[in-house]
């Protein structure tokens, strides 16, 4: 036998279940009167510097069905590539309960060190036993020196991390949990 290490184990994850919105965005879930407003309604104040953009997407399950009960959280740097202050840069994106579309109205992040502009996403829902980490990069940016993308062995999967422009200031980023276009998820 040997001594015990002092390091504690992380608490195990469990699925967020079908009613994550009761806990995370109760006003969105129709439970008014407890909190004046939900947390994470928008990532930046209206007067924040930078290019205003809107990103929309759907999280698809392995059958291709839009996940209407999903909750996405986003975390990003500001236009200067800085994180914070306070809750700036963070948002909660509940999927539309009819069509599954989540919408992020934000500013385009700046590069963070050697990393190209990107937005981190964390995805939870019923059936997801541990939250999924992925990233949004932007089509048209120089991604060639990004150290995270450089670690992806299967280069043919990189497009799953790159949002496509579908109009001025408007971007599309769909996520696929399975299938030919399975999104890259990270353990980092």
């Amino acid at each position: 036998m040997v001594q015990k290490l002092d390091t504690l184990e992380e608490t195990p994850s469990q699925t967020a279940g079908p009613y994550v919105h009761i806990g995370a965005t109760p006003n969105f879930a129709g439970i008014g009167g407890i909190y004046p407003e939900d947390l994470g309604l928008k990532p930046f104040p209206d007067d924040a510097e930078g290019e205003r953009i809107t990103i929309r997407g759907i999280v698809h399950d392995g059958t291709g069905t839009p996940m209407r009960d999903v909750l996405v959280e986003s975390w990003q740097a500001n236009a200067d590539g800085q994180y914070g202050p306070g809750t700036q840069g963070w948002a909660r994106l509940p999927a539309d309960q009819e069509n599954g579309i989540w919408t992020l109205e934000t500013i385009k992040p700046g590069a963070v060190g050697a990393m190209a502009p990107h937005i981190a996403l964390w995805i939870v829902s019923r059936g997801i036993n541990i939250g999924l980490q992925t990233r949004i990069y932007f089509d048209g940016d120089d991604l060639s020196a990004d150290p995270v993308l450089a670690r992806v062995e299967h280069r043919n999967r990189l497009p799953t991390l790159i949002a496509k422009s579908d109009g001025p200031g408007s971007w599309r980023f769909d996520i696929h949990l399975q299938g030919d276009a399975e999104t890259i998820f990270f353990d980092m």
Partner: protein, 236 residues
């Protein structure tokens, strides 16, 4: 914040066919592992000023009149893997009412809604990482999975420490519940000792006579690597 790589064996499997919904909702390809970057090492900072007085009182926070059920205080600490309390962590909870029914339009279970129970609460941890909620013990409820599956009584927890890479959602169970080992969602976790860490013990010393029972639930978030040669305090 120094994030320690996740020990995935302590966590549920993504694909756990006993929990049917995980079958189409689990990635098939391997996760891509790499060290956390500044994006994962940072996160939003929440302040006590964001919270209302009754936010951590689920018994009263919907209408001000008490919800029906067994009154329980759920309390504990949010810790990092070095065992240090994490102050300023956002802890959010949601749960069914005493009959096992959620206040959600998709929940059609025949148990009635409680007009005085909303089912959500939130707290921000204090200096030592402590938090508490006053609530009612949720009821067990049936769910469509196997032909006769029931969830043990549980409270859903979302925890936000100091880093986006620490983000965690989990569920707390109650000591002694015979439904725990029968639950397909619990059993997505292959390691029994990891399951045990989700079961809150009854804490008679934390209970208040003639008022509420208490259960203790500590939560460990990823990080921080304690380095021998580091003299500066965390965050400085």
């Amino acid at each position: 914040m120094t994030l320690i790589p996740r020990a995935r064996a302590q966590h549920p499997l993504a694909y756990a066919p006993g929990y049917k919904t995980s079958v189409p909702r689990s990635p098939k390809l391997a996760l891509i592992s790499m060290p956390a970057t500044p994006t994962e090492d940072t996160g939003p900072v929440f302040g006590q000023s964001m919270l209302g007085e009754l936010d951590n009182n689920l018994v009263l926070n919907l209408t001000g009149d008490p919800a029906i059920g067994e009154r329980v205080l759920v309390h504990g600490r949010v810790l990092d893997q070095s065992g240090r309390g994490v102050p300023g962590a956002l802890v959010e909870v949601w749960q069914a009412n005493a009959g096992g029914r959620y206040r959600h339009k998709k929940d059609g279970y025949l148990a009635p809604l409680d007009p005085n129970f909303g089912g959500c609460g939130r707290a921000i941890t204090g200096e030592a990482g402590t938090y508490q909620f006053l609530t009612i013990k949720p009821g067990a409820y049936p769910w469509p999975n196997g032909p006769n599956d029931w969830r043990p009584a549980h409270i859903h927890f979302s925890v936000f420490g100091h880093a986006f890479g620490q983000r965690l959602i989990t569920q707390m169970y109650f000591e002694g519940d015979p439904l725990i080992p029968r639950c397909p969602i619990v059993n997505t976790i292959p390691d029994q000792s990891a399951i045990d860490r989700l079961v809150a013990p009854l804490d008679m010393n934390g209970s208040k006579p003639h008022d509420f029972l208490a259960y203790k639930f500590d939560i460990v978030l990823r990080g921080t690597r304690q380095t021998l040669f580091e003299n500066k305090k965390e965050g400085m």
